[in-house]
Symmetry: C2
Subunit: 205 residues, 2 copies
């Protein structure tokens, strides 16, 4: 029986998704756990909570703290960081591409490259040119991949992925899911891994 | 020159203040750091952000997750937990007593006993009887301490402590402060300690 993966639900505009996305593959690999990459969009989820913008913009004190905290965290994890001149940037196009990539081996590298572009290089990830450049760097044919990403079926798949997020009570990003157990935030990555290991051990008995 | 303390800003109604309050003395002592106990009230701070209730009540999905997460965390830290039948409970009286206690050796024990009463024993910490019982258990004269807590000067001191929280950009609890550096949440306790140790080391040079 194949091992259950650790589901990693992330949004390219989400600040704390950045360190989690940069770390998860290495941390999971060390524990022998497979990661399932699950791009989704926070916009519709925040809207259903009555927020028309990121809570970090709606609550400036919290927002100011978050940027400082994120910088501190990135330093701790040795991840490059430069505060984006625009926040949040739309992660829609990148999420569509990540959904196309999800089952392919270049997915983790694509995800990390987009996060780096947003949070370390201050590039406009909502622009087709940025995503095309990233794809080219990874040896993927930009035009072809973008066409698959923008195809109606794929757009619909992303909508369904978002509905699935709602069904699972996801309210923020990143969210790690193991079975039915939710872990919210980069701060819970290690706990999610530990939970997964315990679950594997107990199902082996 | 006396070592700068780690300021621990907490609210007795705050769920994530609970594990932090239970852990901080031991964690700080191990690092050779003194804790300054700083009770305050979240109510006025939430009100200034437009919230008339705990955000965990205003956003039920997040609230449901928080209770589960808190239970998981307490298990990890081996701290007793029982979900309070009422949330939030007013921490006003307990905060006034904690302010009286702040400079006295029984302060940490008082703080932990109140948190335990709220989050492990489901007791009504807003009631004078509960606080009096806790004081008696600690060998403190309840009537005398309560009189000092409810004296106009002490009420005013708590108001000023809250204004000081606002001046320092505190927006939630628990918050650890080292110099001018803020760390928000039980999840940042270890980072606050590490920052304090680095600051001590560099000021020793």
């Amino acid at each position: 029986m194949e091992q259950e993966p650790l589901e990693f639900w992330f949004e390219f505009a989400s600040t704390y998704s950045y360190p989690a996305a940069m770390r998860i593959e290495a941390v999971a690999a060390e524990a022998g756990i497979r990661v399932q990459w699950r791009p989704f969009l926070l916009g519709p989820i925040f809207a259903s909570q009555g927020w028309g913008d990121s809570p970090f913009n709606l609550y400036p004190l919290k927002g100011r703290y978050m940027w400082h905290d994120l910088e501190r965290l990135c330093e701790k994890y040795e991840i490059p960081f430069r505060r984006p001149s625009k926040f949040p940037r739309s992660g829609l196009l990148a999420a569509r591409v990540a959904l196309v990539a999800a089952a392919e081996p270049w997915c983790p590298r694509f995800v990390r490259a987009v996060f780096r572009a947003n949070f370390a290089e201050d590039r406009e990830i909502s622009r087709t040119e940025t995503i095309a450049e990233i794809l080219a760097t990874l040896g993927q044919p930009p035009r072809e991949v973008l066409a698959r990403a923008e195809a109606p079926e794929n757009k619909q798949r992303l909508r369904e992925q978002n509905q699935w997020a709602v069904v699972q009570d996801i309210f923020g990003a990143p969210t790690m899911i193991v079975g039915k157990e939710l872990f919210w935030g980069n701060d819970r990555l290690e706990d999610a891994i530990a939970f997964h290991l315990r679950a594997m051990r107990s199902s082996a008995h």
